[in-house]
Structures are given as C-alpha cells and as structure tokens.
C-alpha cells in the first residue's frame, strides 16, 4: 500500500518538476537579431535611434539598481554607444551575444581597450554562456 502511494507521489513530483523546472536554454535573450530588427522597421531615423537608446538605457538602469553598472554610472550619453553597437552586432560571431555583454564590449571599444583584451573578454563570456546553455 505504502509503495503504491510512494509511486503515485513520485509520478506527481516528476510531472510538477517538468513544468516548473527552468533552464536558460529555454530563454531567448535580447541579442543581435532583435537589435538589427530595429533598422528593418519602417521608421524615421530619429525614432530608430530613440529605440536603440531606450534599450541601452533600460540595460544600464537595471544594472545600476542591481548593483553592477555596465558602463560608468555617470555616463548617460547613449548616442555614442549606438554606432558601436550597430557595428558590433552586424558581425556574425556577435549575433548571439546578449545585449548586456555587447554593451560592455561597446564600452571597452569606446574606451580604446586593446583589441586582444576585448576578444578575450568576448570569448570568455561566450564560453560561459555556452556552458549554461544560453548560446549554442
């Protein structure tokens, strides 16, 4: 009798864990595809720029309130980053990189970090993201 109920409970637990379990491989992070998508929209240039800036501002604000700003806290000139992000996201190897990290790389590029250091950072991030299943 006890075995029967244990078995039923086990099945119920399996079903529940299947529906509540979460893996980052299921989550689609904001990355290059959606960034490039903005340019494909039939919008005036100033509105495209506004959209790009608002995503960068969202990322920066959120990182500040979460305790780890992506770029220096006082920096609010997002215009300067839009062009760099555009250039970086058209490169195929960056297409899957989430906006958060691409923004960081854009900041490194803007501040003239050695290209080798930027490449190493990007590779390290990609490796970690692959490990947790965010990118393939």
């Amino acid at each position: 009798m006890r075995l029967k109920y244990t078995f039923y409970v086990l099945i119920i637990c399996c079903v529940i864990s299947f529906y509540t379990g979460y893996s980052y491989s299921q989550y689609n992070f904001y990355s290059g595809e959606e960034w490039i998508d903005i340019d494909k929209q039939d919008l005036p240039e100033e509105q495209k720029l506004f959209l790009k800036k608002i995503y960068l501002q969202a990322a920066q604000d959120s990182s500040i309130f979460s305790g780890g700003p992506i770029i220096p806290e006082g920096e609010r000139d997002f215009n300067a980053y839009v062009g760099i992000m555009d250039r970086l996201y058209v490169q195929e190897e960056n297409a899957n990189l989430p906006l958060y990290f691409m923004f960081k790389i854009a900041d490194m590029t803007r501040n003239n970090y050695p290209s080798q250091q930027v490449t190493l950072y990007r590779l390290a991030i990609m490796q970690q993201l692959e490990r947790i299943g965010v990118v393939e």
Binding site: L3, K4, F7, Y8, I11, V15, F18, Y19, Y22, Y24, Q26, Y27, N28, F29, Y30, E34, D37, Q41, D42, L43, P44, E46, Q47, F50, L51, I54, Y55, Q57, A58, A59, Q60, D61, S62, S63, F65, S66, G67, G68, I70, R76, P98, L99, Y100, F101
Partner: protein
C-alpha cells in the same frame, strides 16, 4: 538494455505492480501527455514578432523627452512612435526583457526569468496610468507588477512603492 529492465522489474516485483495498476498508470501517462501538448502549443502562440500583419501606421511628430532614468515619461514616449499598438507592445516587452536580463547578469534578477514577460506590459501600462507612479523607474514598476501578479497584499505593495520613492528622492533621482 531490455534484459536489464526485465531484471529490475522482476527483482522489485514492479511488473506485478504495473499489471495491477495499469488503468491508473495509463491515466497518469495520458494526463502528462495532454499537459505536454498544451504546454508546447501554448508556448508557440506567445511568441511576439513585429513582422506579423499589423494595422497601418500613422505618422506623428515625435519628440522624446530626455529622462535621467527610464520612467513613466519614457514609457509614454513609446506611444508617440510611428508604431501600431501591437508593435508598441513588442517594444515594451523587449524593454522589460532587457531590464530582467540586465538585472540577472548583474547578479540579482528583479523577477523570475520567464518567456511570459509580455504579460507584464499591460500591468506596467496600468501602473503608469497613475500619475503618482510616472517618475518611478521602469525597473521598480516591473517589480511592483510582479508583486501584484503574485497576489502580494496591497498594503505591502504600497509600502514597497513608498519606500522606493522615498529612497529615490533621497538620492535625487526623483523630486
């Protein structure tokens, strides 16, 4: 492999158990199967795509207000864009996703990662329709929307909102 399974079934008399409760087990497997089908069918319909057929756009004059932080005023600026209502919702959902992801990578996710973040767009819209909330950054409004979604008592939500406003005033983000 089959031999091994048979051995295990024989050893623990599971074969007898399975035979005895075949009908109950069949119902369980059927329920799990039906739930799985609904789960994946549901997932495929939630996907937001701006490429879907949308009503024609109206051309309006667009002047964005520069804000210190992304707040209710910036949120309202999205509605001034030459985008249909559906496209505006896609943009808003993406903003919420960026906020969630950024908090996640910064080490403390503001809400649980979920594909259903588009559900929060309407809650955020509703919260920003209240003038008192306009100056609160989207980051905190998203948290408030999540508290409401999880049936947190109103007095606790109001208390959280007042504390956030007080702290933001202290550091000069809002007046």
């Amino acid at each position: 492999m089959i031999k091994f399974i048979k051995e295990i079934l024989a050893k623990y008399k599971l074969g007898l158990f399975v035979n005895k409760h075949r009908s109950v087990l069949t119902i369980f497997i059927l329920i799990a199967g039906i739930l799985t089908v609904f789960f994946y069918a549901g997932k495929s319909t939630v996907t937001l795509s701006p490429e879907k057929s949308l009503p024609p756009k109206t051309v309006t004059g667009f002047i964005a207000n520069e804000q210190v932080m992304l707040n209710g005023h910036s949120w309202a600026d999205i509605e001034k864009l030459d985008l249909s209502l559906a496209e505006q919702r896609v943009v808003k959902a993406r903003i919420l996703r960026v906020i969630l992801e950024s908090s996640l990578f910064s080490g403390s996710p503001i809400i649980e990662p979920s594909e259903d973040i588009a559900e929060y767009v309407l809650s955020v819209d509703r919260l920003y329709s209240d003038k008192d909330n306009k100056d609160i950054p989207v980051f905190f409004i998203l948290k408030i929307a999540d508290l409401a979604k999880n049936n947190t008592p109103d007095f606790m939500i109001n208390s959280y909102r007042d504390t956030v406003k007080e702290k933001l005033k202290e550091i000069g983000i809002i007046q």
